[in-house]
Symmetry: C2
Subunit: 312 residues, 2 copies
Amino acid sequence: MRAATIREGEILIEEHPDPVAGSEEVVVQVHAAALNGADMMQRRGLYPAPAGSPQDIPGMEFAGEVIALGAGALRFGVGDRVMGIVGGGAQAELVVAHERVLMAVPEGLDWQAAGGLPEVFTTAHDALFTQAELRPGERLLVHGGAGGVGTAAIQLARAAGASVTASVRNEALREQVGALGASVIAPEGFAEHGPFDVILELVGAPNMAENLQALDTGGRIAVIGVGGGAKSEINLLALMGKRARIHGSTLRARPLEEKALVARRVEREVLPLFEAGELRVPVAETFPLDQAAAAYARFAAGGKLGKIVIVL
Amino acid sequence: MRAATIREGEILIEEHPDPVAGSEEVVVQVHAAALNGADMMQRRGLYPAPAGSPQDIPGMEFAGEVIALGAGALRFGVGDRVMGIVGGGAQAELVVAHERVLMAVPEGLDWQAAGGLPEVFTTAHDALFTQAELRPGERLLVHGGAGGVGTAAIQLARAAGASVTASVRNEALREQVGALGASVIAPEGFAEHGPFDVILELVGAPNMAENLQALDTGGRIAVIGVGGGAKSEINLLALMGKRARIHGSTLRARPLEEKALVARRVEREVLPLFEAGELRVPVAETFPLDQAAAAYARFAAGGKLGKIVIVL
């Protein structure tokens, strides 16, 4: 099979052996595989794939068609439309995944949307509801509202009855982010738009001091991205005074059972909202596999709304 | 009534008007009222009592006898032995408290133990179980294991089936802390004794970087004291990689309904262990009200195991 391949910081298309399904695994013919910040870091050698995942083929989410079943695989049949998260290897013609981490693609969702759904909607749902325990009527601030996770978080929080403020650096994208249901603000001086019950932090250290200021009593900060820096001075007395908490999280390093658990939550709590037409996957641009390098360049350039997707 | 009184950083004994019970409140004749770190800060002008509490009479926990009932007070009768937490005013002959924040003193518990129970056992229980969600079989590290909250936390965690390591600076106290059920270590290089699932932080900023190192995946840090400093550099990438969380909390500023809720949890989950003889309140030293200033000096000097209690 052909696959995007990391070679000394470059993305090439190379031939690899076809993957084989082990017990309870399935082989999926990939129709769409989206890019994520983690792919950018992995390309630069900063974020190796977890053990057991292809080390040189990037790609952590995909949608496609089941073409072969391993021993004991029972959840899907050949021809089923599935999507899911893997530790790596999704930006390829074929990918193997454990059947427990896969989800059925909702009726009516096209391949490019399905290929850009699992990582960001799972990440946003896990951070907002499982970690930060966002509740109806609460006030959420999303930092980096125009990105993949940001646009997913805005929609999920609105569907759950929260009020959402989103900071967006790029002025040209603010109207589109607003159309997802958020009050859109510039990142500068965001605390004056508070207080907030939950803050979804996708930028990292530079925001943390102001995040604590902007938090209401009992507030929660979920840190799931540190592109702007990782080392942050935190005033613990302020944290105590607000009776607040700070969560850190990543999906990629989780073991099978935890990835399967979050997939079940997304099936139960998120996919019905896609079926009802209440959520959508904003896709900024698609690229064929041959142009994977251009897709990476587009992702790295920023200033996009939603996902960059490789389509096959 | 006579009461310990803060005057320009000094503790004096002065006459105050007798307090009167409002609706659903009771007047308690205080038999014992223990000291806490917050009293030390308040004496220095750093931690004013919350609105509605006496501003110049310190004391946040007490045990005593109900001597009068306000309108609608139903939970206790005159002569009942009660204990509880207030925003201030407990180091006095009389104190008024809402009946919902009071708890009955367990059979067989003497006044000095009962007067030193509410603040530390409530704080430790709330931090360990409600916030950090400590579970049986998990590994807990308590920083400052010889103090009031530390000795309460060790006993509560052991009773819940956790394994406990406690850091204790004062060598002379290590054996006694060990007798409460903890493996006792020096604070220096504590991370080598990890990993830990939960860390109870009573010292503050100086420990935080090593706390993150010492934490296992999915770990939780509960910060409830910052005597060693409040401003701490936190590596958010490490927090993400460990999928960890940091809680900050205080009891004092909580509204009535939250204080009542934690009192119900302590009644249900802690007091039966006192009745069964599984928990005890280590009392380092007692002082009569007349010598409250000496009690403060003793508390500030440190190097004690357990509580300093004013007895009346």
